[in-house]
């Protein structure tokens, strides 16, 4: 989120990182900054899209409907330490 030049990408109170499409200017700095490669450009457009874990649902649809039960939603103890390493 540190990379967002318009303020469109923020961490919500539930911990998910979300992008406000009304504020996204399509600069794609977040695509370069996301260490997980989780942000992509929208097809046929300039804004960015990323998984919001089906915000509002207790369990994301992909986890709920995986026919093999291979997906699960887990929280990690380690938070990424921030762009450029805001460590310590």
């Amino acid at each position: 989120m540190y990379a967002c030049i318009s303020g469109a990408m923020q961490r919500a109170s539930d911990g998910t990182v979300r992008v406000d499409p009304d504020r996204c200017v399509g600069c794609w700095t977040c695509i370069l900054a996301c260490p997980y490669g989780a942000v992509v450009g929208e097809i046929g457009g300039r804004k960015v899209v990323k998984c919001d874990l089906c915000s509002g649902d207790a369990v994301p649809a992909c986890v709920a409907h995986c026919p093999n039960g291979a997906l699960s939603l887990v929280e990690t103890a380690n938070e990424p330490v921030g762009l450029g390493g805001v460590a310590g």
């Binding site: 990379a3 370069l32 997980y36 450009g41 990424p80 762009l83 450029g84 390493g85």
Partner: protein, 480 residues
């Protein structure tokens, strides 16, 4: 007056990071932002939209209007700072006010580096660094904000020809925007190619091609000798004269020939004349109560060693945040930085990070962000690239519609490896997707030798070797 706990000079990315860093630790200490800007906390990269009348100052706000209140920020807006007096812990403002501080952050950014040319003071000659610059250009173009032209005859000259001096990011963004308004635009660049500090030769050529396709004249390896007044008005620019004598008509000139750190309020804290502020890992200057961040600060360079300014938004925010956390008493450090830039020209997406050419290679391009070391140790480097459609490097297919080539038509990804580790990246079109994963492999110094070919395609976390994937999934040590 009473001593303020925290004084932040500046109101862009580093200052916002510092406000949020301070408040993450200390919710109640007195915090002031002092800025010469009349609109604080706008997004500087977006001012081109204000220049063309496509957006207002409000539209390019970086933080919501509630930001200052929610963070309990005292503001000194439209207040230039004359001097920071380290010994007395005072900030002296041009208005005569004086502020006493316990801890201060200097986040003064850059100012345009102006070439020593006759005619710089003519009307119609502009820089493009601030909201005020963008608004001045909009006024010169006869745009009256979003309200349309005012009543009565418009005394401003009708602008039809524009010369942009400088083929870097600011110059080219201005050129694209002005071209899209229907103006005749010429870009004059002194180096042999465009964007020499952020792109490799192949992608520089792509950029030149796409501008040419849209009717922008690109002149490289050409220097400007003078700006000359027009016949109609001796005070207003009418043409740009090149060193070879060529005279280009110009009703409007944009100067985009580089930047220099603004350090004049605390010159003693710099690395020397023309240099940025010298800071430690916590962003403190030699004086432990005075910090510096943003474009004016020299921060550690992960790939080249040493320290230099990284004039990019993410580094400014991160450095400001580190400074804010430390100022409020929570220890934090800024990791070594990697240059990264992403931009679109006429619908074509591009991104680069790290060293875009091995040091010493190329013709003027010495890696993203400049500052080549010229070590000539090319043997340690390996370059891999994939380019679609195949053919002449840099050649773009003709646009199928008025909007130019669709981003899907061109795919280019180049990787620069040093001793088996990824150190540089250039992407065009869909190759930009997930580039952040590659940037983080650079940041973390991951050995990529065994899966380097994978990184040329549409790679993702799922395609990386198990032990690397496991590290990402746990989040352990991942620098985001």
């Amino acid at each position: 007056m009473n001593e303020l706990d925290y004084c932040i000079i500046g109101s862009s990315a580093a200052a916002a990071g510092a406000v949020e860093g301070v408040r993450a630790v200390d919710p109640s200490g007195t915090l002031a932002v002092i800025t010469e800007e009349t609109v604080p906390f706008y997004s500087r990269p977006l001012i081109t939209r204000v220049m063309t009348g496509a957006a207002t100052a409000l539209d390019v706000a970086y933080r919501p209007r509630t930001f200052l209140d929610e963070n309990r920020v005292l503001t000194y807006i439209g207040e230039p700072v004359v001097r920071l007096d380290p010994a007395d812990r005072r900030i002296i403002l041009a208005s005569g006010k004086e502020l006493r501080f316990r801890k201060a952050l200097v986040a003064t950014g850059n100012s345009p580096k102006l070439p020593p040319l006759p005619g710089l003071n003519l009307r119609g000659v502009h820089t493009l660094m601030s909201l005020a610059d963008a608004e001045a250009i909009a006024a010169d173009l006869g745009l009256n904000g979003l309200n349309g032209p005012g009543p009565g005859p418009d005394p401003r000259p009708r602008v039809s020809s524009v010369v942009v001096i400088g083929g870097g990011l600011i110059g080219l963004q201005a050129a694209e925007a002005l071209c899209s308004m229907g103006l005749r635009v010429t870009v004059v660049e002194g180096l042999a190619r465009l964007l020499a500090t952020v792109l490799d030769q192949t992608t520089s050529t792509m950029v030149a091609d796409i501008f040419a396709l849209h009717g922008v004249t690109i002149l490289t390896s050409r220097s400007v000798k003078a700006l000359r007044a027009g016949r109609a008005d001796p005070d207003r620019v009418g043409s740009v004269v090149l060193a070879d004598g060529t005279e280009l008509p110009a009703d409007l000139v944009i100067l985009a020939t580089g930047v220099r750190p603004r350090t004049e309020i605390l010159e003693t804290a710099t690395g020397g004349p023309g240099r940025g502020f010298r800071v430690d890992g916590q962003m403190a200057t030699d004086d432990p109560e005075i910090y510096a961040a943003g474009d004016a600060a020299e921060v550690p360079d992960l790939l080249r060693g040493g320290a230099r300014p990284f004039p990019i938004w993410p580094t400014a925010y991160a450095g400001g945040r580190v400074a804010g956390l430390n100022m409020a008493g929570r220890r934090a450090a800024l990791a070594g930085q990697v240059a990264m830039n992403t931009f679109h020209f006429f619908g074509l997406a591009m991104a680069s990070a790290g060293l875009v050419e091995p040091p010493g290679a190329g013709d003027g391009g010495d890696g993203a962000g400049g500052g080549g070391d010229g070590a000539g140790d090319g043997g340690e480097y390996e370059i891999l690239a994939t380019h679609r459609p195949p053919g002449v490097p840099g050649r773009l297919s003709r646009p199928s519609g008025p909007s130019g080539p669709s981003p899907g038509e061109t795919y280019y990804r180049k990787l620069v490896l040093r001793k088996g580790c990824l150190v540089g990246l250039v992407c065009v079109g869909e190759a930009v997707d997930r580039a952040g994963l590659a940037v983080s492999l650079i940041r973390q110094g991951v050995e990529v030798e065994s899966f380097k070919e994978e990184l040329l395609g549409s790679f993702s976390l799922a395609g990386l070797p198990e032990e690397i994937r496991a590290k990402y999934l746990s989040g352990e040590g991942v620098l985001s």
